[in-house]
Subunit: 380 residues, 2 copies
């Protein structure tokens, strides 16, 4: 097995042994499939790359590459792009690569793990369509990357009217680590009834105002932002998020302020600093942003402290859907193997499915209880 | 020399060799004195501990121990203290230990370096008084710890009417790493005309309201906060800062937002979260805190971006006083040895001293210029 990993990634066998020992390479299984996943960039393969093995075959699925963030659109867009720019909506969910392995549709998270919950839901929602699309593309070299959105997942929860519970929207089709042009992605997915992310416009790179208009509209609708792509993928994409998201993220994240903390806060504040600069906000408009920012930071955090002081537990809560108890247990085992012990509050049957209300306890709960007890902070 | 360090700290010679190589122990000189300083806690000695050697002697000066921060006074004070609490003013400057080495008054920074500037200024201001105080205490085992405040120093700049330019206020007298009771500190320093930090009250530990009253007054005066001590130093002190400082620090720090960033932001926000909770702030009062917080974060940062966009350099500026050009050069060499290249803008003579206007360039300048040029952020 180590030989297969070494061959697949072009590394020495000894190097691979060392990396497995130091847990940079993690070996895992999913329903009889064995795979290795990279916890950081290695030998040109991005973090989250997986190598999946069968008896006599192996498959490399590249990690999804990080996308650079623009903070000054007027500077970045004309400078970065060549001629035209495809403006696609950035959906707020989690990044999932889908591949056909041994003719099974498998869902791989950004971190490079096969998530049993996502795989099962995706199969129920779009299994045959995804299989057909990948078969046409050539399932040995191709895989899809897209966003899972909706409320019924264990990772992120934003409500989207187009997929209130669980949806999947493809944003890239990859062939051995290289993305196909957006037009080709749309042809293939549309032919097979697989949803793709909305294309909101194709504009000239010097027409930044049109892009800003699109973003302003998304902001008013409380949506996340855009990914800007070259129509032929000759240069890497860029992302930009709406202030609704920057501030909204803080508002949600600060509920669990002890886990999010530092970088989370700083990165979002940075975006707003440069947006306020680019848009020339001042006077009452800047005050209103300052109030919104300050409130998004303080209010959810104070609410959490109060809640814990009242003796309530602070946890993320979600409702998930399973085919049966086995599928639920498989998911709980998977999360436990990541060090996350979930609490199943309640299960019930609905339309032939097993539904579960689940709590994910937060470190904030433990940390804040300690502060409430001692009055002292562990930090500085 | 390594043997002396090993003996003084109770470590193996080999261990010391390794620590010097890995730069945990740093060897330095100051005007013919050689010393080693610890860059982290080691064998029970706090970070910033120094070992100073002469031909046939050596001296250990313990690092100043970190002081825990209270964020909920009503909980922390009654729980932490035994009976009574000495409320001392926490001054906003930098922590300096003063020892008599070979009959010379030497100033050691928190990090464990002999600062030539601080040493020279302190000698001019209080040299004979400090020497007398230490001689009476026993200069072999005793040293002082205090705050340097005022505008004329290269590290911090807060204006204090009682020491507008350069002042030193003792907050602890140590005997071999153990602090003497506050009363004893006051006796010795007052006898020799050495200033000590203001003692604002000695209160019963259950009278938290009186402490809060003292803090409220400091807040209205824009002063930093308090250090709470046991009268006999039977338990460690605690510190608490006024909101004026928490928010004011952000306002000052965010001017150089790329260097301060993360932990700096988070730790101050944390203090305000628990203060707002403890004081039960809500409605318009919470809004006004949120606005103040948001403004302190955004406004100085946006101002810096604008300044850099106009082509101006972003740097800290300060004015220092030297006896002569040699003393200035010794200071510049010292800062350069710390990796800080200062720019001397202007020098002139005044009342027999050499004054210098100095700029310390900031990373924020470089980072923001990069963002203004590319429109992209290095941070997600």
């Amino acid at each position: 097995m180590l030989d297969v990993i070494a061959d697949s990634l072009g590394l020495d066998r000894e190097r691979v042994e060392g990396l497995v020992r130091s847990r940079v390479i993690r070996i895992r299984g999913y329903r009889g499939l064995l795979y290795a996943s990279l916890r950081r960039e290695l030998a040109g393969y991005p973090e989250g790359t997986v190598v999946i093995f069968g008896r006599d075959w192996s498959r490399v699925i590249h990690g999804y590459p990080p996308i650079q963030r623009a903070v000054l659109l007027r500077v970045a867009v004309p400078r970065h792009f060549i001629d035209r720019v495809v403006v696609e909506e950035k959906l707020n969910g989690y990044n999932v690569r889908v591949a056909l392995i041994d003719d099974r549709v498998v869902a791989i998270t950004r971190g490079g793990l096969i998530c049993p919950y996502t795989t099962a839901r995706l199969n129920r929602l779009l299994g045959p369509k995804l299989r057909e699309a990948l078969r046409e593309l050539g399932p040995e070299e191709h895989y899809l990357a897209g966003e899972v959105i909706g409320l019924e997942n264990p990772y992120t929860r934003y409500f989207y009217p187009e997929a209130p519970r669980f949806g999947y929207f493809v944003f890239d089709v990859f062939r051995e680590g290289k993305p196909l042009p957006p037009r080709r992605r749309d042809e293939v997915t549309e032919k097979h009834g697989v949803p793709h992310v909305p294309v909101l416009g194709i504009v000239d790179k010097d027409n930044v105002d049109e892009i800003r208009g699109i973003i302003a509209k998304l902001h008013r609708e409380g949506r996340e932002g855009v990914v800007l792509k070259d129509p032929e993928y000759r240069v890497n994409p860029l992302k930009y998020t709406t202030p609704a998201t920057n501030i909204g993220d803080l508002r949600i994240g600060m509920r669990f302020f002890m886990e999010e903390g530092r970088s989370f806060l700083f990165s979002r504040i940075l975006r707003e600093i440069f947006r306020a600069y680019e848009e020339g906000l001042e006077g009452p408009k800047l005050d209103s942003l300052a109030l919104e920012l300050g409130s998004a930071i303080l209010r959810p955090a104070i609410e959490t402290v109060k809640q814990i002081a009242r003796g309530e537990m602070v946890a993320e809560e979600f409702e998930l859907e399973f085919a049966n108890a086995d599928e639920l247990n498989e998911f709980l085992d998977y999360m436990a193997s990541l060090g996350i012990d979930l609490i199943v509050e309640k299960t019930w049957e609905e339309n032939g499915y097993l539904r579960a209300r689940i709590k994910k306890p937060k470190d904030t709960w433990i940390e804040v209880r300690k502060i409430l007890e001692t009055g002292l902070t562990p930090i500085d």
